[in-house]
Amino acid sequence: MSGTESDAERLDYARQAIEHAYDKGWTDGLPVVPVTAGMVEEFLATTARARDEVIAAVPHLGRECTVEQAAVNAALAGCRPEFFPVVLAAWDALMRERTVTGGGWQSTSGPAPLIVVNGPIRAELGINSAGGVLGPGFRANATIARSVGLVVRNVFGIRPHELDQTTQGIPGRWTLCLGENEEESPWEPLSVELGLPAGADAVSALLLRTSEFVDNRHTQNAEEVLWDICDTVARTGAAIVPHSSAGLILGVEHAQQLADAGFTKAEVQRWLSEHAVRSHAELNRAGKGIEGSPSNVDERGMHMVPDPGQIPIVVAGARNAAMSMVVRPFGFGGWSREPQLVERAAAHAPAGAGSAR
């Protein structure tokens, strides 16, 4: 047998292994990487955490996910072993979210985990924070997020048409991992805003219902840009009265424009909180008239996001056009605002990196 023939045989075998995974129902629709025991050990070697430590759970289903199960599914998703500490930090962050422990994976809303990575580990692992940040094309972004979805499917057993009752879902539901563009952001990174030291490798996470673009290359007036963003923030369709939500993945140009006009991140949050109001007439017109007197409703109408701290702002993307995304945090209880440090086994920490521990 020639070298080419035996190579072809091995590739055929690889194809059959991928088909086997499909037959077993292990995939999210795309091919997965066949996982061996040796691969799992490579993943486990990147963390100091015990393989049987429970890192995620769906309490009302009595289902738990251990470090080892997360490692298997990260390998399956196509992660490199060195991505695994970020996967673990993402689960640490997600498990702080009431929406995650409260049945979000089963919701008709079909929410997507947004995983935001800060710190030098972005460059080290190739986590994209610039052009095309919402994907596709970057292995770390794509596979870290995908590994979360495979745990939901394979470990928790929450699958579409079964325990997952998603009505339509969100394009890219299991692909929303991004690095913050700290290099071009005019403000402190998200992880620092939320209380972690500058330079630390950290992951923040929350569930989203969707993202909606705001294209404003029309004005040099920062407040006009905010009004344009505000129109999307205050959209009646996103309101489940008397609740709504909003966050921003601000493009670099919008962020810099706002900062140049003197806005801090907190001031942008406050401005949107104050101005994102829909009138009673507009809500009534949409069949969403408000009964009773919730605290976020007054004579002006419904204040869509009354708490500025509940408007997460991340700066990401290329500095080549003034466009941003309004994102929709899922759930009414608010997000935890608790980023988690990326912790690596000593042998896998970069030389001289002390802040990552």
């Binding site: 059959q16 996982v35 009595g62 738990e64 298997v72 089963q106 470990v155 325990l163």
Partner: protein, 184 residues
């Protein structure tokens, strides 16, 4: 072939045990009915109509109404204990979303385990989710009452109609010894 491929669905064994069913009363006459509503729109109205019909047509003695505030979480232990103490049977619903249909089934099983016959009402759009939850609990084939989806936008007359239609199945589930009859 592919024996060396790690199964990503493997989970530690155990956790699901098949729960007992509460002993049934032959009749509902003179019994106190617990109504455990969730926060879905029309859930309380639906259960209230069921309570009225049970009193009028089956001679139940009274109702205890409770509302579960979490869509997803199991019924709080204190609420379960309170209803189990005060009631002879419970009606639970309405499972009208992905999470709450599964949660309603879990609550029904919890009351059965506590010795109280339970009838769970889910909208038919979420039967798959309710069945999947029963499977998770090791209770494949658990029977509940289905009503047509949607429930949320119905007016009070329509809710009452639905309750009237569902009533025979509810009564059957609460009185029949084996919880294996067909859903309405």
């Amino acid at each position: 072939m592919f024996e060396a491929m790690i199964d990503p669905t493997t989970r530690p064994s155990g956790g699901t045990t098949s729960g007992a069913r509460a002993p049934r009363h032959g009749t509902l006459n003179g019994l106190t009915v617990g109504l455990l509503a969730n926060v879905k729109q029309n859930a309380e109205e639906f259960l209230g109509a069921v309570g009225d019909l049970l009193a009028a047509e089956h001679g139940t003695a009274g109702v205890v109404r409770r509302k579960k505030l979490s869509i997803t979480d199991p019924v709080p232990a204190s609420m379960l204990a309170e209803l189990a103490d005060a009631c002879d049977v419970v009606v639970i619903g309405v499972g009208d979303c992905g999470s709450c249909s599964a949660s309603a089934v879990a609550d029904g099983l919890a009351f059965e385990a506590a010795g109280i016959p339970a009838a769970v009402i889910c909208s038919d759009a979420f039967a798959v989710s309710a069945d999947a939850m029963a499977n998770v609990m090791g209770e494949s084939g658990y029977t509940y009452v289905t009503t047509a989806h949607p429930v949320a936008p119905l007016n009070s007359g329509e809710v009452r109609e639905r309750a009237t239609t569902a009533l025979p199945t509810i009564v059957g589930l609460l009185t029949a010894q084996a919880n294996t009859t067909a859903a309405a």
